[in-house]
Protein backbone atom coordinates (compact mmCIF):
# COMPACT_ATOMS: atom_id res chain seq x y z
CA UNK A 1 0.00 0.00 0.00
CA UNK A 2 1.09 3.55 -0.60
CA UNK A 3 0.54 6.57 1.63
CA UNK A 4 -2.14 7.84 -0.76
CA UNK A 5 -4.80 8.55 1.93
CA UNK A 6 -2.38 10.76 3.90
CA UNK A 7 -1.31 12.64 0.76
CA UNK A 8 -4.94 13.11 -0.25
CA UNK A 9 -5.75 14.56 3.18
CA UNK A 10 -2.83 16.94 2.89
CA UNK A 11 -3.96 18.12 -0.52
CA UNK A 12 -7.50 18.56 0.73
CA UNK A 13 -6.21 20.68 3.59
CA UNK A 14 -4.12 22.78 1.23
CA UNK A 15 -7.01 23.16 -1.20
CA UNK A 16 -9.27 24.30 1.66
CA UNK A 17 -6.64 26.79 2.75
CA UNK A 18 -6.41 28.20 -0.74
CA UNK A 19 -10.17 28.62 -0.88
CA UNK A 20 -10.33 30.48 2.44
CA UNK A 21 -10.72 34.22 2.57
CA UNK A 22 -7.27 35.19 3.75
CA UNK A 23 -8.38 38.53 5.08
CA UNK A 24 -10.53 36.89 7.73
CA UNK A 25 -8.16 34.26 9.04
CA UNK A 26 -4.84 35.72 10.15
CA UNK A 27 -3.39 32.45 11.33
CA UNK A 28 -3.98 30.67 8.05
CA UNK A 29 -2.70 33.69 6.16
CA UNK A 30 0.53 33.76 8.16
CA UNK A 31 1.11 30.03 7.77
CA UNK A 32 0.45 30.13 4.07
CA UNK A 33 2.62 33.21 3.65
CA UNK A 34 5.53 31.59 5.52
CA UNK A 35 5.23 28.55 3.32
CA UNK A 36 5.15 30.57 0.09
CA UNK A 37 8.09 32.72 1.22
CA UNK A 38 10.30 29.62 1.29
CA UNK A 39 9.82 29.09 -2.46
CA UNK A 40 12.34 30.19 -5.09
CA UNK A 41 9.54 30.84 -7.59
CA UNK A 42 7.59 34.09 -7.75
CA UNK A 43 4.09 33.56 -6.38
CA UNK A 44 1.61 36.32 -7.12
CA UNK A 45 -2.09 36.41 -6.29
CA UNK A 46 -4.36 38.50 -8.48
CA UNK A 47 -7.93 39.42 -7.67
CA UNK A 48 -10.73 39.11 -10.21
CA UNK A 49 -9.70 42.46 -11.78
CA UNK A 50 -6.12 41.25 -12.30
CA UNK A 51 -4.78 43.47 -9.51
CA UNK A 52 -1.99 42.10 -7.32
CA UNK A 53 -3.19 41.37 -3.78
CA UNK A 54 -0.27 39.20 -2.59
CA UNK A 55 3.35 38.50 -3.53
CA UNK A 56 5.89 36.23 -1.87
CA UNK A 57 9.51 37.16 -1.03
CA UNK A 58 10.86 35.61 -4.23
CA UNK A 59 8.81 38.13 -6.20
CA UNK A 60 10.50 40.99 -4.38
CA UNK A 61 13.90 39.38 -4.86
CA UNK A 62 13.46 38.62 -8.58
CA UNK A 63 11.69 41.82 -9.67
CA UNK A 64 13.52 44.21 -7.37
CA UNK A 65 10.22 45.83 -6.36
CA UNK A 66 9.15 45.76 -2.71
CA UNK A 67 5.74 44.61 -1.56
CA UNK A 68 4.32 48.13 -1.25
CA UNK A 69 5.28 48.96 -4.82
CA UNK A 70 3.68 45.83 -6.22
CA UNK A 71 0.45 45.49 -4.24
CA UNK A 72 -2.36 47.27 -6.05
CA UNK A 73 -0.54 47.23 -9.39
CA UNK A 74 -0.72 44.56 -12.13
CA UNK A 75 1.91 42.10 -13.41
CA UNK A 76 2.51 44.57 -16.26
CA UNK A 77 4.80 46.33 -13.75
CA UNK A 78 7.53 43.72 -14.35
CA UNK A 79 6.62 42.50 -17.83
CA UNK A 80 8.69 43.56 -20.77
CA UNK A 81 6.04 45.24 -22.95
CA UNK A 82 6.42 42.64 -25.73
CA UNK A 83 5.49 39.88 -23.26
CA UNK A 84 2.48 41.58 -21.68
CA UNK A 85 0.04 40.66 -24.45
CA UNK A 86 1.34 37.12 -24.51
CA UNK A 87 0.69 36.66 -20.80
CA UNK A 88 -2.78 38.13 -21.10
CA UNK A 89 -3.55 35.65 -23.83
CA UNK A 90 -2.16 32.89 -21.71
CA UNK A 91 -4.39 33.86 -18.79
CA UNK A 92 -7.38 33.76 -21.10
CA UNK A 93 -6.68 30.12 -21.98
CA UNK A 94 -5.63 29.00 -18.52
CA UNK A 95 -8.36 26.40 -18.23
CA UNK A 96 -7.53 24.81 -21.56
CA UNK A 97 -5.69 21.62 -20.64
CA UNK A 98 -3.58 21.94 -23.76
CA UNK A 99 -2.28 25.37 -22.91
CA UNK A 100 1.50 25.29 -23.08
CA UNK A 101 2.89 25.00 -19.58
CA UNK A 102 6.39 26.23 -20.15
CA UNK A 103 6.12 29.22 -22.47
CA UNK A 104 9.02 31.50 -21.78
CA UNK A 105 8.26 35.20 -21.39
CA UNK A 106 10.52 38.16 -20.66
CA UNK A 107 10.29 40.17 -17.46
CA UNK A 108 12.14 43.33 -16.57
CA UNK A 109 13.45 44.12 -13.08
CA UNK A 110 13.16 47.50 -11.41
CA UNK A 111 16.81 48.17 -12.35
CA UNK A 112 15.99 47.56 -16.03
CA UNK A 113 17.68 44.18 -16.42
CA UNK A 114 15.71 41.56 -18.27
CA UNK A 115 15.17 37.96 -17.21
CA UNK A 116 13.29 35.11 -18.79
CA UNK A 117 10.59 33.28 -16.88
CA UNK A 118 7.99 30.59 -17.29
CA UNK A 119 4.51 31.47 -16.09
CA UNK A 120 1.81 29.17 -14.85
CA UNK A 121 -1.57 30.48 -13.82
CA UNK A 122 -4.00 28.68 -11.54
CA UNK A 123 -7.56 29.90 -11.04
CA UNK A 124 -8.57 29.90 -7.36
CA UNK A 125 -12.28 30.26 -6.56
CA UNK A 126 -14.01 30.80 -3.26
CA UNK A 127 -16.38 28.10 -2.11
CA UNK A 128 -19.39 30.33 -2.75
CA UNK A 129 -18.12 30.88 -6.27
CA UNK A 130 -17.69 34.64 -5.93
CA UNK A 131 -14.87 36.68 -6.62
CA UNK A 132 -12.15 34.38 -7.83
CA UNK A 133 -8.39 34.80 -7.68
CA UNK A 134 -5.63 33.85 -10.05
CA UNK A 135 -2.39 32.47 -8.69
CA UNK A 136 0.63 33.19 -10.92
CA UNK A 137 3.76 31.10 -10.43
CA UNK A 138 6.75 32.47 -12.30
CA UNK A 139 10.16 30.84 -12.49
CA UNK A 140 13.37 32.55 -13.53
CA UNK A 141 14.73 30.39 -16.36
CA UNK A 142 17.32 32.76 -17.81
CA UNK A 143 20.16 30.25 -17.47
CA UNK A 144 18.06 27.38 -18.80
CA UNK A 145 16.79 29.49 -21.70
CA UNK A 146 20.35 30.49 -22.67
CA UNK A 147 21.42 26.83 -22.57
CA UNK A 148 18.41 25.87 -24.66
CA UNK A 149 19.34 28.45 -27.30
CA UNK A 150 22.88 27.05 -27.49
CA UNK A 151 21.58 23.47 -27.73
CA UNK A 152 19.10 24.45 -30.44
CA UNK A 153 21.81 26.24 -32.41
CA UNK A 154 24.28 23.36 -32.13
CA UNK A 155 21.65 20.85 -33.28
CA UNK A 156 20.59 23.06 -36.22
CA UNK A 157 24.17 23.71 -37.36
CA UNK A 158 25.17 20.04 -37.01
CA UNK A 159 22.19 19.01 -39.12
CA UNK A 160 23.03 21.76 -41.63
CA UNK A 161 26.70 20.74 -41.84
CA UNK A 162 25.85 17.07 -42.30
CA UNK A 163 23.25 17.76 -44.97
CA UNK A 164 25.30 20.20 -47.04
CA UNK A 165 27.75 17.69 -48.58
CA UNK A 166 24.92 15.18 -49.00
CA UNK A 167 22.81 17.77 -50.84
CA UNK A 168 25.76 18.52 -53.09
CA UNK A 169 26.18 14.82 -53.86
CA UNK A 170 22.49 14.47 -54.63
CA UNK A 171 22.54 17.34 -57.10
CA UNK A 172 25.61 16.05 -58.87
CA UNK A 173 24.24 12.50 -59.01
CA UNK A 174 21.02 13.91 -60.40
CA UNK A 175 22.98 15.74 -63.10
CA UNK A 176 25.00 12.63 -63.93
CA UNK A 177 21.84 10.54 -64.21
CA UNK A 178 20.15 13.18 -66.38
CA UNK A 179 23.12 13.16 -68.78
CA UNK A 180 24.15 16.74 -67.94
CA UNK A 181 27.76 15.58 -67.84
CA UNK A 182 27.74 13.26 -70.83
CA UNK A 183 26.25 9.93 -71.82
CA UNK A 184 25.72 7.38 -69.06
CA UNK A 185 25.40 3.68 -69.88
CA UNK A 186 22.54 1.57 -68.53
CA UNK A 187 24.93 -0.17 -66.13
CA UNK A 188 26.23 3.17 -64.88
CA UNK A 189 22.65 4.44 -64.53
CA UNK A 190 21.80 1.53 -62.27
CA UNK A 191 24.89 2.11 -60.16
CA UNK A 192 24.18 5.84 -59.89
CA UNK A 193 20.59 5.09 -58.89
CA UNK A 194 21.87 2.92 -56.02
CA UNK A 195 24.21 5.67 -54.84
CA UNK A 196 21.44 8.26 -55.16
CA UNK A 197 19.14 6.07 -53.05
CA UNK A 198 21.86 5.70 -50.40
CA UNK A 199 22.52 9.43 -50.23
CA UNK A 200 18.79 10.13 -50.02
CA UNK A 201 18.54 7.69 -47.13
CA UNK A 202 21.43 9.44 -45.37
CA UNK A 203 19.66 12.80 -45.70
CA UNK A 204 16.60 11.16 -44.16
CA UNK A 205 18.67 9.79 -41.30
CA UNK A 206 20.15 13.23 -40.57
CA UNK A 207 16.64 14.67 -40.51
CA UNK A 208 15.52 11.90 -38.17
CA UNK A 209 18.52 12.53 -35.91
CA UNK A 210 17.65 16.23 -35.83
CA UNK A 211 14.01 15.51 -34.98
CA UNK A 212 14.93 13.01 -32.25
CA UNK A 213 17.51 15.40 -30.79
CA UNK A 214 14.96 18.20 -30.61
CA UNK A 215 12.35 15.88 -29.10
CA UNK A 216 14.80 14.50 -26.53
CA UNK A 217 15.95 17.98 -25.51
CA UNK A 218 12.40 19.29 -25.44
CA UNK A 219 13.24 21.72 -28.25
CA UNK A 220 10.66 20.57 -30.81
CA UNK A 221 8.58 23.67 -31.40
CA UNK A 222 5.04 23.79 -32.72
CA UNK A 223 3.62 26.61 -34.82
CA UNK A 224 -0.11 26.17 -35.12
CA UNK A 225 -1.82 26.97 -38.36
CA UNK A 226 -4.91 25.82 -40.21
CA UNK A 227 -4.15 22.68 -42.20
CA UNK A 228 -6.56 21.09 -44.69
CA UNK A 229 -5.64 17.48 -43.87
CA UNK A 230 -6.80 15.97 -47.18
CA UNK A 231 -4.64 18.42 -49.14
CA UNK A 232 -1.64 17.57 -47.02
CA UNK A 233 -2.19 13.81 -47.57
CA UNK A 234 -2.49 14.44 -51.32
CA UNK A 235 0.80 16.39 -51.27
CA UNK A 236 2.57 13.56 -49.46
CA UNK A 237 1.18 11.00 -51.93
CA UNK A 238 2.40 13.12 -54.81
CA UNK A 239 5.84 13.36 -53.23
CA UNK A 240 5.95 9.56 -52.76
CA UNK A 241 4.69 8.75 -56.27
CA UNK A 242 8.05 7.57 -57.58
CA UNK A 243 8.60 5.33 -54.56
CA UNK A 244 5.07 3.93 -54.90
CA UNK A 245 5.80 3.00 -58.52
CA UNK A 246 9.18 1.49 -57.59
CA UNK A 247 7.61 -0.71 -54.91
CA UNK A 248 4.82 -1.75 -57.32
CA UNK A 249 2.01 -1.07 -54.92
CA UNK A 250 -1.22 0.77 -55.53
CA UNK A 251 -2.42 3.44 -53.15
CA UNK A 252 -6.09 4.30 -52.74
CA UNK A 253 -6.95 7.53 -50.97
CA UNK A 254 -10.47 8.10 -49.65
CA UNK A 255 -11.01 11.73 -48.77
CA UNK A 256 -14.10 12.79 -46.88
CA UNK A 257 -16.54 14.82 -49.05
CA UNK A 258 -16.10 17.84 -46.77
CA UNK A 259 -12.45 18.66 -46.04
CA UNK A 260 -11.20 18.71 -42.48
CA UNK A 261 -9.11 21.53 -41.18
CA UNK A 262 -6.78 20.94 -38.25
CA UNK A 263 -5.22 23.60 -36.07
CA UNK A 264 -1.74 22.14 -35.73
CA UNK A 265 1.91 22.41 -36.71
CA UNK A 266 2.13 21.69 -40.43
CA UNK A 267 5.63 20.16 -40.46
CA UNK A 268 4.75 17.86 -37.58
CA UNK A 269 1.52 16.63 -39.19
CA UNK A 270 3.30 16.22 -42.50
CA UNK A 271 6.07 14.13 -40.93
CA UNK A 272 3.46 11.86 -39.31
CA UNK A 273 1.48 11.41 -42.54
CA UNK A 274 4.66 10.83 -44.57
CA UNK A 275 6.06 8.24 -42.15
CA UNK A 276 2.90 6.15 -42.00
CA UNK A 277 2.28 6.11 -45.75
CA UNK A 278 5.96 5.60 -46.55
CA UNK A 279 6.15 2.59 -44.21
CA UNK A 280 2.94 1.12 -45.64
CA UNK A 281 4.42 1.38 -49.15
CA UNK A 282 7.91 0.23 -48.21
CA UNK A 283 6.90 -2.82 -46.17
CA UNK A 284 4.19 -4.00 -48.56
CA UNK A 285 4.15 -6.98 -50.89
CA UNK A 286 4.72 -6.54 -54.63
CA UNK A 287 1.36 -5.62 -56.22
CA UNK A 288 0.03 -4.93 -52.72
CA UNK A 289 -2.26 -2.09 -51.81
CA UNK A 290 -2.29 0.76 -49.34
CA UNK A 291 -5.61 2.27 -48.28
CA UNK A 292 -5.36 5.78 -46.90
CA UNK A 293 -8.47 7.28 -45.40
CA UNK A 294 -9.29 10.51 -43.60
CA UNK A 295 -12.49 10.25 -41.62
CA UNK A 296 -14.28 11.93 -38.75
CA UNK A 297 -14.64 10.53 -35.26
CA UNK A 298 -17.27 12.68 -33.57
CA UNK A 299 -17.15 13.15 -29.83
CA UNK A 300 -18.32 9.91 -28.14
CA UNK A 301 -18.41 7.72 -31.28
CA UNK A 302 -16.23 4.62 -31.42
CA UNK A 303 -13.58 3.48 -33.87
CA UNK A 304 -11.51 0.38 -33.22
CA UNK A 305 -13.15 0.33 -29.78
CA UNK A 306 -11.83 3.81 -28.95
CA UNK A 307 -13.75 6.99 -28.33
CA UNK A 308 -12.79 10.51 -27.27
CA UNK A 309 -14.46 13.33 -25.39
CA UNK A 310 -13.95 15.74 -28.29
CA UNK A 311 -14.18 15.60 -32.07
CA UNK A 312 -11.21 13.96 -33.74
CA UNK A 313 -10.10 13.37 -37.31
CA UNK A 314 -8.63 9.99 -38.03
CA UNK A 315 -5.90 9.18 -40.50
CA UNK A 316 -6.16 5.48 -41.29
CA UNK A 317 -3.35 3.76 -43.23
CA UNK A 318 -3.88 0.08 -44.02
CA UNK A 319 -1.38 -2.05 -45.94
CA UNK A 320 -1.26 -5.59 -47.28
CA UNK A 321 2.28 -6.32 -46.10
CA UNK A 322 3.31 -9.34 -44.08
CA UNK A 323 2.50 -7.63 -40.78
CA UNK A 324 4.47 -7.33 -37.58
CA UNK A 325 5.11 -10.59 -35.71
CA UNK A 326 2.77 -10.82 -32.71
CA UNK A 327 5.59 -11.18 -30.18
CA UNK A 328 7.24 -7.98 -31.42
CA UNK A 329 4.21 -5.71 -31.54
CA UNK A 330 4.80 -4.31 -28.05
CA UNK A 331 8.11 -2.81 -29.24
CA UNK A 332 6.88 -1.15 -32.44
CA UNK A 333 7.10 2.39 -31.08
CA UNK A 334 10.49 1.94 -29.40
CA UNK A 335 13.79 3.29 -30.75
CA UNK A 336 15.66 1.12 -33.27
CA UNK A 337 12.75 -1.26 -33.83
CA UNK A 338 13.11 -3.53 -36.84
CA UNK A 339 10.57 -6.30 -37.35
CA UNK A 340 12.35 -9.65 -37.67
CA UNK A 341 10.39 -10.58 -40.80
CA UNK A 342 11.69 -7.59 -42.77
CA UNK A 343 14.45 -8.21 -45.30
CA UNK A 344 17.81 -6.94 -44.06
CA UNK A 345 18.17 -4.56 -47.00
CA UNK A 346 14.89 -2.88 -46.04
CA UNK A 347 15.91 -2.54 -42.42
CA UNK A 348 18.90 -0.34 -43.26
CA UNK A 349 17.31 2.70 -41.62
CA UNK A 350 17.80 3.75 -38.04
CA UNK A 351 14.52 2.20 -36.89
CA UNK A 352 13.26 5.59 -35.75
CA UNK A 353 10.23 6.15 -38.00
CA UNK A 354 7.55 4.94 -35.63
CA UNK A 355 9.39 6.12 -32.51
CA UNK A 356 9.42 9.64 -33.96
CA UNK A 357 5.87 9.33 -35.28
CA UNK A 358 4.45 8.44 -31.88
CA UNK A 359 6.46 11.19 -30.16
CA UNK A 360 5.15 13.75 -32.66
CA UNK A 361 1.55 12.53 -32.30
CA UNK A 362 1.92 12.91 -28.54
CA UNK A 363 3.31 16.41 -29.05
CA UNK A 364 0.07 17.27 -30.85
CA UNK A 365 -1.94 15.72 -27.98
CA UNK A 366 -3.22 13.10 -30.43
CA UNK A 367 -3.35 9.32 -30.23
CA UNK A 368 -1.86 6.57 -32.36
CA UNK A 369 -2.52 2.85 -32.38
CA UNK A 370 -2.22 -0.09 -34.74
CA UNK A 371 -3.27 -3.66 -35.37
CA UNK A 372 -1.30 -6.15 -37.40
CA UNK A 373 -1.63 -9.68 -38.72
CA UNK A 374 -0.16 -11.76 -41.53
CA UNK A 375 -2.58 -9.99 -43.90
CA UNK A 376 -1.12 -6.57 -43.16
CA UNK A 377 -0.96 -3.70 -40.71
CA UNK A 378 -3.39 -0.90 -39.93
CA UNK A 379 -2.15 2.29 -38.28
CA UNK A 380 -4.51 4.99 -37.07
CA UNK A 381 -3.78 8.50 -35.82
CA UNK A 382 -6.53 10.47 -34.08
CA UNK A 383 -5.79 14.19 -34.50
CA UNK A 384 -7.38 16.66 -32.08
CA UNK A 385 -8.07 20.36 -32.69
CA UNK A 386 -10.51 19.86 -35.55
CA UNK A 387 -11.82 23.17 -36.79
CA UNK A 388 -14.30 21.82 -39.31
CA UNK A 389 -15.67 18.35 -38.67
CA UNK A 390 -18.67 17.28 -40.66
CA UNK A 391 -20.20 14.48 -38.68
CA UNK A 392 -20.89 11.49 -40.86
Amino acid sequence: MTNEPAMSMGLNELARMLCLDMQSNTEVEERLSRMLDTLHDQVVLLDARGVVVYINKATEHLTGYNRDEVLGSTPALWRLSESATHVERKLDIREDSRAPEHDVIRNVRKDGTVYEATVRSVPVSREDGSPSYTLLVERDVSDAAALERVQRRIAALTSHNLKTPLASMRWQLEMLRNGDMGHVSQEQQESLAEIHEGVTRMVGMVEQWYTVTNLDLGLHTLHSEKIPLENLVAEVLHELQLRIEQEEVSVRFSAHPVPFVLEADRDTVRTIVHALIFNAVKYNRANGTVDVEVLPLPNGDEYDGRSFSEDRVLLSVRDTGQGIPTGEQGRVFLERFHASNVEASYAAGAGLDLYITRALVQKLCGDIWFSSSEEGSHFVVAFPNVLQAQHA
Binding site: A156, L157, S159, H160, K163, T164, P165, L166, A167, S168, R170, W171, Q172, E174, M175, N178, D180, V203, V206, E207, Y210, T221, H223, D267
Partner: protein, 115 residues
Protein backbone atom coordinates in the same frame (compact mmCIF):
# COMPACT_ATOMS: atom_id res chain seq x y z
CA UNK B 1 24.34 33.33 -56.72
CA UNK B 2 25.71 33.72 -53.20
CA UNK B 3 26.82 30.24 -52.17
CA UNK B 4 29.91 29.22 -50.20
CA UNK B 5 29.70 25.49 -50.98
CA UNK B 6 31.70 25.50 -54.19
CA UNK B 7 30.48 22.13 -55.51
CA UNK B 8 26.87 23.26 -55.19
CA UNK B 9 27.61 26.62 -56.76
CA UNK B 10 29.30 24.85 -59.68
CA UNK B 11 26.37 22.46 -60.21
CA UNK B 12 23.88 25.33 -60.18
CA UNK B 13 26.03 27.45 -62.45
CA UNK B 14 26.22 24.65 -65.04
CA UNK B 15 22.47 24.09 -65.00
CA UNK B 16 21.57 27.80 -65.09
CA UNK B 17 24.08 28.55 -67.85
CA UNK B 18 22.60 25.79 -69.98
CA UNK B 19 19.20 27.41 -69.55
CA UNK B 20 20.73 30.56 -71.02
CA UNK B 21 21.20 32.59 -67.87
CA UNK B 22 24.31 34.60 -67.09
CA UNK B 23 25.45 33.68 -63.60
CA UNK B 24 27.61 35.72 -61.25
CA UNK B 25 28.89 33.61 -58.36
CA UNK B 26 29.95 35.01 -54.99
CA UNK B 27 31.24 32.66 -52.27
CA UNK B 28 30.16 34.78 -49.31
CA UNK B 29 27.68 37.49 -48.49
CA UNK B 30 30.25 40.29 -48.59
CA UNK B 31 31.20 39.45 -52.18
CA UNK B 32 27.52 39.02 -53.04
CA UNK B 33 26.65 42.52 -51.81
CA UNK B 34 29.61 43.92 -53.74
CA UNK B 35 28.36 42.17 -56.90
CA UNK B 36 24.93 43.73 -56.40
CA UNK B 37 26.62 47.14 -56.47
CA UNK B 38 28.49 46.54 -59.68
CA UNK B 39 26.37 44.15 -61.72
CA UNK B 40 22.90 44.32 -63.18
CA UNK B 41 21.18 41.48 -61.35
CA UNK B 42 17.65 40.14 -62.00
CA UNK B 43 17.49 37.48 -59.30
CA UNK B 44 19.59 36.48 -56.28
CA UNK B 45 19.97 32.88 -55.11
CA UNK B 46 21.33 33.15 -51.59
CA UNK B 47 22.61 30.62 -49.06
CA UNK B 48 22.17 31.44 -45.35
CA UNK B 49 25.15 30.02 -43.45
CA UNK B 50 28.29 31.52 -44.99
CA UNK B 51 31.58 32.97 -43.77
CA UNK B 52 32.04 36.73 -43.20
CA UNK B 53 28.55 37.85 -44.11
CA UNK B 54 25.67 35.35 -43.94
CA UNK B 55 22.43 35.23 -45.88
CA UNK B 56 20.28 36.94 -43.25
CA UNK B 57 22.73 39.83 -43.17
CA UNK B 58 22.60 40.03 -46.97
CA UNK B 59 18.81 40.28 -46.80
CA UNK B 60 19.01 42.92 -44.08
CA UNK B 61 21.58 44.94 -46.00
CA UNK B 62 19.57 44.72 -49.23
CA UNK B 63 16.54 45.94 -47.32
CA UNK B 64 18.56 48.78 -45.75
CA UNK B 65 19.95 49.83 -49.11
CA UNK B 66 16.52 49.47 -50.72
CA UNK B 67 17.84 47.02 -53.33
CA UNK B 68 14.68 45.68 -54.96
CA UNK B 69 16.09 42.50 -56.55
CA UNK B 70 14.05 39.36 -55.71
CA UNK B 71 15.85 36.82 -53.53
CA UNK B 72 15.38 33.05 -53.33
CA UNK B 73 16.95 31.63 -50.18
CA UNK B 74 18.58 28.20 -50.56
CA UNK B 75 19.75 26.55 -47.37
CA UNK B 76 20.03 23.33 -45.43
CA UNK B 77 18.50 24.94 -42.36
CA UNK B 78 14.99 23.61 -42.30
CA UNK B 79 13.31 25.11 -39.24
CA UNK B 80 10.12 27.09 -39.70
CA UNK B 81 11.71 29.96 -37.72
CA UNK B 82 14.43 30.40 -40.34
CA UNK B 83 11.94 30.40 -43.19
CA UNK B 84 9.73 32.92 -41.38
CA UNK B 85 12.72 35.17 -40.69
CA UNK B 86 13.93 34.97 -44.30
CA UNK B 87 10.48 35.77 -45.66
CA UNK B 88 10.04 38.63 -43.20
CA UNK B 89 13.28 40.08 -44.56
CA UNK B 90 11.89 39.95 -48.09
CA UNK B 91 12.87 36.54 -49.49
CA UNK B 92 10.38 35.51 -52.18
CA UNK B 93 11.02 31.79 -51.74
CA UNK B 94 12.76 29.44 -49.31
CA UNK B 95 14.30 26.21 -50.58
CA UNK B 96 15.77 23.45 -48.42
CA UNK B 97 18.57 22.22 -50.68
CA UNK B 98 18.84 18.69 -49.31
CA UNK B 99 15.14 18.09 -50.04
CA UNK B 100 14.98 19.73 -53.46
CA UNK B 101 16.13 18.25 -56.79
CA UNK B 102 18.24 20.63 -58.84
CA UNK B 103 15.68 20.41 -61.67
CA UNK B 104 13.05 21.79 -59.28
CA UNK B 105 15.34 24.73 -58.49
CA UNK B 106 15.59 25.43 -62.22
CA UNK B 107 11.77 25.48 -62.37
CA UNK B 108 11.65 27.90 -59.44
CA UNK B 109 14.20 30.19 -61.13
CA UNK B 110 12.34 30.06 -64.45
CA UNK B 111 9.07 30.94 -62.72
CA UNK B 112 10.65 33.76 -60.74
CA UNK B 113 12.16 35.34 -63.83
CA UNK B 114 9.02 34.81 -65.90
CA UNK B 115 6.98 37.06 -63.59
Amino acid sequence: MIEDEKSMAKALEIKLSRLGYTVTVAHNGQLGLAALDTTDIDLVLCDLIMPKVGGFEVLEEMHRRKIQVPVIVMTNLSQAEEEARARSLGAMDFIVKSNTPITTIMDVVNNALAD
